[in-house]
Symmetry: C2
Subunit: 398 residues, 2 copies
Amino acid sequence: MTTNFTATRAMFDLPEGVIYLDGNSLGPLPHAVKARMASTVAEEWGQMLIRGWNEAGWMEQPRRVGDRVARLIGAEAGSVVMGDTLSIKVYQALASALEMNPDRRVILSDSGNFPSDLYIADGLVRTLGQGYQLRVVAPEEVLDAIDDSVAAFLITEVDYRTGRRHDMKALTEKAHAVGALAIWDLAHSAGAVPVEVAARGADFAVGCTYKYLNSGPGGPAFIYVAPRHQESARPALSGWMGHAAPFAFDLDYHAGAGIERMRVGTPPILQLAALDAALDVWDGVDMADIRARSLELGDLFIEGVEAACPDLRLATPRAHRDRGSQVSFAHPEGYAIMQALIAEGVIGDFRAPEILRFGFTPLYISPDDVRRAVEILSRIMAEERWNRPEFRQRNRVT
Amino acid sequence: MTTNFTATRAMFDLPEGVIYLDGNSLGPLPHAVKARMASTVAEEWGQMLIRGWNEAGWMEQPRRVGDRVARLIGAEAGSVVMGDTLSIKVYQALASALEMNPDRRVILSDSGNFPSDLYIADGLVRTLGQGYQLRVVAPEEVLDAIDDSVAAFLITEVDYRTGRRHDMKALTEKAHAVGALAIWDLAHSAGAVPVEVAARGADFAVGCTYKYLNSGPGGPAFIYVAPRHQESARPALSGWMGHAAPFAFDLDYHAGAGIERMRVGTPPILQLAALDAALDVWDGVDMADIRARSLELGDLFIEGVEAACPDLRLATPRAHRDRGSQVSFAHPEGYAIMQALIAEGVIGDFRAPEILRFGFTPLYISPDDVRRAVEILSRIMAEERWNRPEFRQRNRVT
């Protein structure tokens, strides 16, 4: 193992007394972001003003940062661009893919997909009319459901609730064998598990950066378009930043070269600066080490919890190859149990109706943290603390 | 006049020796943003982590800040929400409007509109097919072109190049008289001129915040939907944050109540924090005072430049009612003249092929600044400095 996890942990601000197992929802703050945000605000915006677009390199930021993300998902340089939110990027990928496969009318997805992906697909289908439809099957039925009626599938590699991991290679190959396009949502993959979008032949990939890439709340999303499609994909959201010459102010739209056309509006420079600084943590980190350590942490947690808390049912596949970087347990009192854990400084999260999620991100979580989290959870379960009224109040949104 | 412009000017960081006449492109940094960004990053993100969505009020931010913007554009409370970029908000407004007027196929716009609006409309028309079309006429022909073939018009109130201002009242009334919907882009209006979207009967309005509202590079956009349409407008970009119950994780989409449905993905909390702090400048500012002072500054500039620089041709309407808050002059050497001005600390900008733009934002620009800018411009013109090679190099994007 070449990655120094003691060193990466030291790069994060983590509150005293907290074991943070929710990096799969919002990554913690890398120290370096603070100075970077201060200088982006005071020195770039404050002093350069409009000149920042040139002098501070703001205009190139979505592409330059995109290349840093590309390395982490096995994408070719120049094939990833940052911007907008993941939902918007899903819309872009889907709309382009459907046009590239004009004789078919079906988007295939699964019921384990993050709901926003399904909502966006449903919205696009309604906008298009003309017989377009969204077909949603169970996660384990996806492979069989890929047939020659499918224009494109939209699959999230790692299930947001269970951590179940799809087989990207098998599904992509099947799609291509029947003439369908493969769109992968990497929200729970980028920075969590090794991803090889290029080697796996993904047509499009999208993802967010505020989870395992630690860009902060509302950090920009990314979109990958395979180089073979970049010059033919028509951007449905044809904003000026994706124009071939944004500052020529032509009245007519001409799509920019390559991945640039997937830019839409003015990029969120402050959030991009936070992301750029957060990505420094990844210099010298090997994704294979991340994977090995994250599985080790997950196994440690599963063993500990199963030994001490028989009422919690493992909701994540036990096999390494079938899971991502999070571990989930189910319990009818899941909500109150999670509140009790948070009160003790162990922060995971809850997904209705009964899933407790725990993310194991080796950049800042150690085996000792996991052992301590198991102890605390065991105590809560033994004392049936979920019955305490203060943990039953549902006034929280996440 | 009740607004204290000496006090508002003191709220901004402005670099030494700079007269900043480009707030119509990127507003300068309000002091308050620095401390707010630092605390949002270190205290909210860093210490609250995922709990910030509840404890720091992140989840309500798009709506809460939307209400602050609503006041500045004459919108009803609860009818504006923040997020995404202006191009995305244009897409949302257009897609919803077309569906509300299903028997018509024409989007009307004008050649003075900001190109991204036209590009987005063109992209939507291509996605929809089925005979939809974008009709673009000259700015002065818009009123006559509003006929009963028009589903919706998409008009930017103040022209980004010339500062020419459309008559929002007349155009909106004509649209309604023929059964068309009115979508107003307020990019160069919000914070620049008094806007009364509710009183004028606008159906939709959109705008950005990084110009006159000083939210910083890439600050979030806004969308207004008239209360009478809020429950019927279907969101084409149906992301989870616009769902009636985002954290129920239903597989099916149900649009949220009112303006909430125009939210899409996870909101950009860092950029929203910058905007929120920047909006504090507007407490105690009367838009009528802003308008009176901005016209006074514009007149002072026009008189001065016309007296001293006969080669510069005024490109902005002279009549107060026909112009916004910027003044533009045209010159074949506009690009090089603007570079020469910037070298002297007078920052405006250039829009191809020959427009020099100067924004007059009374929050931080005084009559003395205008007089000094006129002197500097006069000297540049008298010395024909545009011939200097260093000002002719076109290596800049903005």
